[in-house]
């Protein structure tokens, strides 16, 4: 039983990363019509940003959670302004090739300086609250031992995902964004600066990826190819969930993480392929994905 719970927790952790990443991909795809293959590289940059902040300036985890998404988000917005914006209106293939190229370059640069092995990033040991030192250690829940940091990642990711959902589905700003996704020409003709909104949207999606990178650093270490490995699964998640829906990508992200975890317990041999098998099944039955709107 202990092992089952442990695998469920691992599943939820992976699900958190899937959800944060596929959420960003969905937002970017909706607004820019670009399949952002650079997403994994930007996730990796988030983790490296936290690493640099700690080792070059002494700025720790909590500030990195805020600073890294902003820094990487700005990098993303520069990419959008200088390159991606010129692809508007072209076939998806161009955006895919460009962002894939960006991912290879970014990963190549980091590999050149840091090789392929992981750099350690410690779980924060501050602030001290009660008997806990930051997010270190764990607690016994009776039925299982819960490492605090892992519980934090799941809860915090869920909160960020829901906040993003709220921003997009329930606020004025989100209404502008949804409208511009549907008909950018008309929204612009109402006096809204749509090109600026597109840049900020890309920044938001990239920021979510960078945030996932920071969250992942203490668990998975900081590696130049950490995003390349993850992004393949995330794209399968996106295909299963469908590109159209914000809540859909959140739920699918967490659900597939859990399914992966359960598979590790019940049939470990299939744990690496279960997501792809599901992807094939969904594509056969509902090509737009579970929650996707027809393109």
């Amino acid at each position: 039983m202990q092992a089952l719970y442990a695998q469920l927790l691992v599943g939820l952790i992976n699900g958190s990363f899937y959800a944060l990443l596929s959420l960003g991909l969905a937002v970017i795809f909706g607004m820019l019509n670009i399949i952002n293959f650079a997403h994994g590289a930007l996730y990796m940059m988030g983790a490296f940003c936290a690493y640099f902040l700690l080792h070059l300036t002494g700025i720790g985890y909590w500030w990195a959670l805020i600073i890294a998404p902003i820094v990487v988000g700005i990098f993303g917005m520069i990419l959008e302004r200088t390159m991606l914006q010129w692809l508007a209106g072209l076939d998806h293939l161009y955006g895919l090739l460009l962002t894939f190229g960006i991912a290879l370059i970014v990963q190549g640069v980091f590999q050149n300086y840091f090789g392929s092995s992981g750099l350690p990033y410690a779980i924060p040991d501050y602030p001290e609250v009660g008997g806990f030192r930051g997010l270190q250690g764990g607690m016994n829940l009776g039925f299982m031992f819960l490492p605090i940091y892992r519980g934090w990642v799941v809860v915090f990711s869920l909160v960020v995902c829901l906040a993003t959902w709220f921003l997009i589905e329930k606020t004025r700003l989100g209404a502008n964004l949804r409208a511009a996704t549907e008909n950018p020409t008309l929204v612009r003709a109402f006096g809204i600066n749509v090109p600026r909104m597109i840049t900020l949207t890309y920044g938001l999606g990239v920021g979510l990826a960078a945030l996932a990178g920071v969250l992942s650093a203490p668990i998975n270490q900081v590696r130049p190819l950490m995003g390349a490995d993850l992004i393949i699964v995330v794209f399968a998640v996106v295909v299963i969930g469908g590109m159209g829906s914000i809540m859909g990508s959140i739920i699918t992200g967490f659900a597939l993480g859990v399914i992966e975890g359960l598979t590790k317990y019940f049939y470990p041999e299939a744990s690496n392929t279960v997501v792809f098998v599901l992807m094939v099944l969904v594509l056969l039955v509902k090509p737009t994905g579970l929650t996707g709107r027809a393109a």
Partner: protein
């Protein structure tokens, strides 16, 4: 009617001269000339594909390639981006209405930003279009065609823009709804709005318009005041093929 037409016209608000426009490779407008004065309702008449909608879209800045001159309140807006044109006080209600499916009625209504003070308040809008108030939480595209048209007009009245461009607001609507839209346009005119209307239905247009321009093959080929309408009826039938 004759009295209204004889009323001294205000200052020229919009003047378009030798406007040419292209959709990709195809040359749609071949030299459009017309003007609109403050407080007028001016109607562009013409057959399908004559270039009426393209003219509105060119004024709004949403046709990629355009040459010639478009001046709004003395300012040259020929090359301006559409968001800037909107902020100068031109509001556009497109032919396909442009109601957003992923927004509810309230969000659709509040979407266009306020560009200057003096727009209608929500209460004034609900007074004009009582149906909308009851449907605020419905999905925008769940409304009937008439309600969608009302929503499309209502949302640009909030913005404070005093120059409205309405592209075939009566298309495909029931007579009773057309009548309501006619009343609304008359009311807006009496409150000092300037309106550039595109219509195929000149019977409807004749109930609200001060002046007409006839558009054919991407050019303005004729123009007359509403008071001259009956004198021009034969010509009009030829132009419109009705």
């Amino acid at each position: 009617m004759a009295e209204a037409a004889a009323k001294p016209a205000g200052a020229e608000i919009l003047s378009v001269s030798d406007l040419q426009a292209w959709y990709g490779e195809s040359h749609i407008l071949h030299g459009i000339n017309f003007n609109v004065k403050a407080g007028e309702v001016v109607t562009l008449l013409g057959r399908n594909g004559a270039g009426k909608t393209t003219t509105l879209k060119s004024v709004m800045g949403i046709i990629g390639k355009r040459t010639g001159s478009i001046r709004f309140n003395g300012q040259d807006i020929t090359r301006a981006s559409s968001d800037r044109i909107a902020r100068l006080g031109i509001a556009f209600c497109p032919e396909e209405r442009g109601i957003f499916a992923s927004l509810d009625v309230r969000e659709n209504l509040l979407l266009p930003p306020i560009v200057r003070s003096g727009g209608l308040s929500l209460d004034q809008i609900f007074e004009l279009f009582p149906n909308l108030k009851e449907r605020l939480n419905s999905q925008g595209t769940k409304l009937s065609g008439g309600e969608q048209q009302m929503l499309a007009i209502a949302r640009i009245l909030r913005t404070g823009a005093r120059f409205l461009m309405l592209d075939e607001p009566t298309e495909g609507l029931a007579p009773v709804i057309i009548q309501q839209i006619g009343h609304t346009i008359a009311r807006l005119k009496s409150e000092g709005f300037t309106i550039l209307l595109v219509e195929q239905n000149f019977r409807f247009a004749s109930t609200v318009a001060d002046r007409y321009y006839i558009v054919e093959h991407g050019k303005v080929i004729d123009g007359f005041a509403n008071s001259e309408l009956s004198a021009n009826m034969d010509k009009l039938h030829t132009y419109l093929g009705v």
